[in-house]
Each structure stands twice: as C-alpha cells, then as structure tokens.
Assembly symmetry: C2
Homo-oligomer: 312 residues x 2
C-alpha cells in the first residue's frame, strides 16, 4: 500500500495531536492544540477534527484513526475497553467506526483490568504500547509511560498481562499547590532533574514507601530546621513522588525488569535520573513517535488486512 495515507490522532484529556501519515510512517503534516476532550465536549469533536484536517491539507476521503479520550464514555463515541490479558495486535480489531459521516473515522478502544483488587483503565497508552512493539525482545517488556497518570505495563509474549496507573503527576500538582508544602515550593523556578537532592529523595521513597506521607511533611520541617531552599523542596517532592511510583511498579527486584521508558523532553530526563538513582537502565522511546507508530500499525491492520502486525 505505498500510496496509503491516513490521519493519526492522539486525542487526550487536555491535548489534541494530529499527523497526516504515509503508509511507511513518514509525517506529511502535523497539527496540534489544547483542544483535548474537555474543550471538545464544549466546542464539538467533529468541528475540531475538521479544522485540524484542513490544516494538514487532508482530502475528503482521508481515513482517520483516533486513540485516547475521544473514545471515553464522556468523549465523542464510546469505544469501550479490551480486557486484559490482551494481545496488542487485537486492539485495532475493536475500533469503533463513526456512523452517519462519509469519511471513515475510527476510534480505538482502551484497555481495562477488571480485577476488583487492582481495577485499572487506560486510553491512548495501549496505542503507544503497540508502537513500541519492535523494541520488545520476544515480546517481553516492562513499559513505563510517566505523566499526570503514569502507566506501568507488563507485556509478556506480546500480551498485556498487567498494568497499574500511578497518580504521580496529579498528586505532585495537588500537593505543591494545595497543601502546606505550597509555601516551601512557592519560590522555586524548577531544578535540574539530575540533582543530588532529587536522587536522594527517589532512593528514600523507594526504600521506605510506607513512610511516604511523613517524608512529605519532612520537607516542611527541613525548611524550618535546615533552611531547605525552594528548589530543593521541589526536587525532594518530585523525587519522593517518583520514588514511591518506582517502588510500587518495580517491587522487590527492580533489576529483573527490562524497562522501556515512553516519554519525551524533561519528563524523560527526570525518569532517567530516577532510574539512574536506583542503578537501573532503560530504553527511551519518544512518546510522540510511539503513538504515531502504534496508530500506523493499527491503521495498516484496519485498512490493509494483508499487512499483518509483526506480532500476529
């Protein structure tokens, strides 16, 4: 399908990203904005998509494949969930096609873990996972997708067997803005992700996750007793939040995992510094690249069934 093209869309809660892609993955156009699901619920999903398609010069019959929150219950059209354990190459088969429109627009489902003791859901990250498939030797990996809600996914023989969502980014935000620590962090202009203070906090939370909420108060006390600076306070809070995430995700034998880190920019640097603080290695895959690759594989499976996903 050398001439095949489609529009790949990652429609998150607060961001929208569209690429016009050739069948071989070449990016022919890109359009992004902050018109995520929250904005789209107000302004209309169809209008926002149409405008971004125009922006990349899409023809009227260019098919569109969407992943992310557009498929949530409160999104555009509910695309449901594929239950884990789930083969990564089966997700595209569950895409939901929009009715009543001429253009072929499909939304990929999310993944659900229906275990009452560890209930979990994802939307969008399953597509990033699919996009990492070439980097999983034997189809095995522990994949970390950090962010507002960090996802950690265990992939075995190309099947997602288990995943957990850690509220790291959102908790960092809520704690730094809406607790007593807001005073300690107020003057901070950020910190280098590789700071020794950050690394020490990662190690402390990793070694003693049970005392997490006490280590948080200690930031305040160190401000009173040891003149901790605002930048050090931010580095400590950041390190503690990521440290407990790593403790929960990696368990007692962290070195047994081959970690794939799906992230970009500063977030990728921060997590690499956290892994380094624990003596762990990882392979980094750019988050944008992963979602584009995943949408590309899913699109090929949907519109060119002869081209099978490599894992099938």
């Amino acid at each position: 399908m050398p001439d095949f093209q489609f529009a790949a869309v990652d429609w998150g809660t607060s961001s929208f990203r569209l690429w016009r892609l050739a069948g071989d993955g070449t990016v022919l156009g890109e359009s992004r904005s902050h018109e995520g699901m929250i904005v789209a619920r107000e302004n209309g999903f169809a209008d926002i998509l149409a405008r971004h398609l125009d922006a990349v010069g899409a023809s009227d019959d260019l098919p569109v494949l969407i992943c992310g929150m557009a498929g949530a219950k409160q999104g555009w059209v509910e695309a449901g969930y594929v239950d884990v354990p789930a083969r990564l190459d089966t997700i595209s088969g569950q895409a939901v096609r929009l009715e009543g429109v001429a253009r072929d627009i499909r939304i990929l489902p999310g993944l659900a873990q229906r275990d009452p003791q560890a209930a979990d859901v994802m939307r969008g990250e399953e597509t990033q996972l699919l996009g990492c498939i070439d980097h999983m030797p034997g189809g095995h990996a522990m994949v970390a997708m950090p962010g507002t809600h960090s996802k950690w996914v265990r992939v075995e023989a190309h099947r997602v067997t288990r995943f957990s969502t850690f509220m790291t980014g959102e908790l960092f935000d809520a704690i730094s803005k809406h607790t007593i620590l807001s005073h300690a962090l107020a003057a901070s202009e950020g910190f280098g992700g590789d700071s020794a203070v950050f690394a020490a906090a990662v190690r402390q939370a990793f070694a003693s996750p049970a005392t997490m909420t006490s280590q948080l108060f200690s930031i305040r006390a160190r401000g009173l007793l040891f003149s901790l600076t605002a930048a050090e306070a931010e580095a400590t809070l950041s390190g503690l939040m990521i440290g407990i995430e790593l403790a929960g995700a990696l368990g007692a034998a962290p070195g047994d995992n081959t970690i794939i880190l799906v992230a970009s920019g500063k977030l990728a640097e921060l997590y690499r510094a956290a892994f380094a603080a624990l003596g762990l290695d990882c392979t980094t895959i750019d988050a944008d690249q992963a979602v584009r690759a995943g949408l590309g594989l899913a699109a090929a499976a949907i519109w060119n069934p002869k081209q099978r996903i490599p894992t099938a």
Copy 2:
C-alpha cells in the same frame, strides 16, 4: 495550691480554645473560636486573648499558659523548640514569658527532631503528650494524635525519643478536592467509620504501601468498571490514607506497640475502626482532656515548683 487558677490556651493554626482551670483541673469556664494563628496574625493575638479571658470572667492577674502555633516563628512570640530526645517534664521549663505586659503570659515551646533524614516538628502535641503521662505504664507508649497532620510519638521512660508527622488529613483534603477523584467523591455524604469498604482499604494500604498512588487511581477505575458509589469511594480514600499512615508509623510488628490514641469524636471512631481492621487495640484519650491535663501539669510546674510533675 488549692486556690490556684490559671487560663489554659490551646492556640492552633485555625482554632482557639481557652479554659479557666482550677489547680485540680476543674473547668471553671471555657471559650473557643476559629481565631487560630492565621486569623490572629491579622486581628492581633493580644486582643483575641483579652476577649476570651473576659468571656470566662478572668481576673486581671490570672496567669495564662499557651501551647500551639502562637509560639511559632510566624506566631505571637517565638517559643522555639526543645530537641528530642526530650523528657516530657522539661518542656514547661522552656516556656517563654511575654515581655511588656503586666499579666503573666507564657507560651510553651514545641519539639524538634533535627535528623536530616527524618526532620520533624510539633507544636501543641507535646502538651497533649504531657497530659497523657498517667496513661503510660513505666513511661512507655506509642501515641497517635491523628488530624490534618497526624503525629506519631514514641515515648520511652517518659522521654520522647522519636516522632513522625503524616500529612494524612491534608492529603485526604487535597486529593478529594483537587484531583480526578473529586468526581468520584462529589456526591458522598460521608460514610460510617466502621464500613467494610473502609476496613478493606486500610488493610490494602497497610499491606502494600508502595502501591499507594496506584490504589488511589483504582478508586477512579472502580467507578468506571464496577460502579463504585461516592460513599464507597470516600471510605476507600479515607481507608487508604489512614492505612499507609499506620504502615509507616507501626512498621513490621504493629502488635508490639501499646497504642494511646489522642483524639475525639468522629476522628477517634475512624482511627479505632482502622486499628480494629488490623487487629490492634488502643486506649483512647479525649484530645481536649489531654491538652487541658498537659497545660495543668505544666502550669503547676511553672507557678508551683513544689508540685513536681509525677515523672520527675
């Protein structure tokens, strides 16, 4: 000193409580308001105290003993800290007397733990601890003082040897108002502290503190996948926050501790239910009673040195 009287004041961040007490602890008058340190910094500490003294019919020469945030750096007069390890009966000797006023007004110091790995401070709770001294066989106890910032204090031979502050109440508040869980909890009108859902969450966080921030997201996922009610979501969040506190405070051998719970009302019920979920016992002491008793012992030591604190 049968005719000795004084005004006992617990001046917190957001609350003010004053009692006119006889030497034997009898309450002769009480006045309370929300004029804590935050309000007092605006409206003036002296005026607020004078009004409450009037309200209980205090004579011009009634001495006043204050504990709590009035002694903080940003309070009325800084009363500093006594460093741990500290004998409980030495705290009153470090009280700071207000200068330039006719009335004898003194503010008790807080406690500081100057360990960079576990820096911590308290103001007010040291006085509650002193008030619990009769309930510590041999002067040994593990004392829990739950709240916005829960304090857990190890007392050995009447000495505070170690303490930790857990941001349980404040984190519950920030998470329930300022994260995605706010939607899950919005419709809740509270839950019975003895609910099975609460107990299960306490046990889960206690058993697996490292996965805490993932268990939090699971509340959201259980709402999507298992129709968790708002009351169940609140019970779960509450149980998780208290469960990780107990894991951090009690460690691997929780049954080895004789726990004194200093709390009142619903908070006391909630923590008793949490202890029960883990098969632990505790002795409950009313928080108001504890601070009055502590102020009474300290006042006797200050103004009637012949009457020594029982531990001395």
